[in-house]
């Protein structure tokens, strides 16, 4: 059993008196692809944001490569740099070109010289098939292209793990394919990823493990075949029948 890249231990998060995440624990091993599913409002985004400390967990511990990142005195900016985050709404920097979006983190955060950063950024853009658009501004791109740039921006920081929060939910159906293809390629290259998604076909094909979340906690997890064909929990069954109407479970 290889050492986990990420270990989440009894993670809890409340906003005021409302508990949104309760007692979530799981390990992520190198190159593992985890797809998190669950209905809207169950705390999937909150969990991802706690994992890279965009939100401060109320309690629980998180380890990145054996180092506890929730310990007091840890440089949180440095933690975030080591985890790539991809957002549903892309959140590209509107005033920067595609190339600028990818280089700014390398230059301003990692301190890589501009020329080197540009070369590396072009490589990352090549990886997502966006190198030829490097001079364009976000407003000139389609949704699928924006998201691929969002992925390249995260890759540019050499993350130890990539977190995706519904990367295709804001896209027109005909544009989801190009983004899913990029993610599938990353998976094949051995990138460690946690992906919140409603793309069940993608989950079935690419995930090593599927986690079903309900009411801020892990209701069931397992390999895709098991979750999709023989779910143990009644709630999982119910969720799957709603999200994939017509397909018998």
């Amino acid at each position: 059993m290889p050492l986990p890249v990420l270990r989440i231990e009894k993670l809890c998060k409340s906003f005021g008196n409302t508990a949104v995440i309760t007692d979530v624990s799981f390990d992520v091993i190198p190159s593992e692809v985890i797809v998190v599913i669950g209905s809207s409002g169950t705390g999937k985004s909150t969990m991802l944001q706690c994992i890279n400390l965009l939100l401060r967990p109320t309690s629980g511990r998180i380890f990145l490569e054996e180092k506890e990142i929730t310990a007091p005195g840890v440089n949180q900016d440095n933690v975030r740099r080591q985890m790539g985050m991809v957002f549903q709404e892309f959140n590209l920097f509107n005033h920067l070109t595609v190339l600028g979006n990818v280089t700014i983190g390398m230059v301003k955060v990692s301190g890589i010289p501009a020329k080197q950063a540009k070369e590396k950024a072009l490589q990352e853009l090549e990886r997502v098939g966006m190198a030829e658009h490097c001079e364009k501004y976000p407003a000139q791109l389609s949704g699928g292209q924006k998201q691929r740039v969002g992925i390249a921006r995260a890759l540019g920081m050499d993350p130890k793990v990539m977190l995706f929060d519904e990367p295709t939910s804001a896209l027109d159906p005909e544009l989801t394919g190009e983004v899913l293809a990029v993610m599938q390629k990353l998976a094949a290259e051995g990138m460690t990823m946690i992906i919140v998604s409603h793309e069940m076909g993608f989950a079935r094909e690419v995930a090593d493990r599927v986690i079903f979340m309900e009411n801020g906690t892990i209701e069931e997890q397992g390999i895709p075949d098991q979750i999709f064909s023989t779910p143990r929990s009644e709630r999982t069954r119910k969720f799957l029948s709603v999200i994939r109407p017509g397909k018998s479970v």
Partner: protein, 213 residues
């Protein structure tokens, strides 16, 4: 026509002073405005309170009063020429208005920009500097054009402490030639030309830096 030309020549040095006073005031106001707006939007309780007070007090006090305070009170303690007193007073005044301009611009930047900046490991301060402010500046351009022409006109107020800008020279010319219409008309002509020039220039800047979302 000859008289108008002579008057133009007489007022011309004042034009330079007017432009310098305006430029200093705008730059100072821009720094103060950007800083105060950031304090207001992203600062803690104390920073917020300071920014709110500054904006409220300075906007409540007439610019002429600010000019007199700097010239008669502050220049007792620090060595300030009338020119600098006037420019700095206008800068403080413009700073308060630019605070409001930048505050609105900062608030218009989508929340996701900050989240994404933090997501690649930027500190809050770095995110504000590298991601939020550059976008806010672009959003603020139309209001800043307006502010430039307002400060340009307000700069005429420094004539009260004897700064030889356009208005002061026009007043002098009016008294010595007994032709107020010619003197102030020519001054007005200069102000109109400057305002036209500024709005054309900044329109070009706006086109160049426009971002769409």
């Amino acid at each position: 026509m000859q008289a108008f030309y002579t008057m133009l020549q007489f007022l011309l040095p004042g034009l330079g002073v007017t432009i310098s006073v305006t430029a200093i005031a705008l730059c100072m106001g821009c720094c103060i405005g950007a800083l105060m707006a950031v304090m207001r939007v992203y600062g803690g309780l104390v920073a917020k309170a300071i920014a709110v007070c500054y904006s409220m007090v300075v906007r409540a006090v007439p610019v002429v009063v600010l000019i007199f305070i700097l010239f008669f009170v502050i220049s007792e303690f620090v060595d300030l020429s009338p020119f600098m007193s006037g420019a700095i007073a206008l800068g403080f005044a413009s700073g308060a208005y630019q605070t409001e301009i930048f505050r609105g611009a900062l608030l218009s930047i989508p929340q996701g920009q900050m989240v994404a900046a933090r997501g690649i490991g930027m500190s809050r301060a770095k995110a504000i500097r590298c991601i939020i402010l550059p976008q806010a500046f672009r959003v603020a351009i139309p209001s800043l054009i307006n502010e430039v022409s307002l400060v340009l006109k307000d700069s005429s107020l420094v004539f009260v402490i004897g700064v030889p800008e356009l208005m002061r020279r026009a007043q002098y010319a009016s008294a010595s030639t007994m032709e107020p219409l010619l003197a102030f008309g020519t001054a007005a002509f200069f102000y109109i030309m400057m305002t036209l020039f500024v709005s054309k220039l900044l329109e070009a800047v706006e086109k160049r830096f426009a971002i769409s979302f």
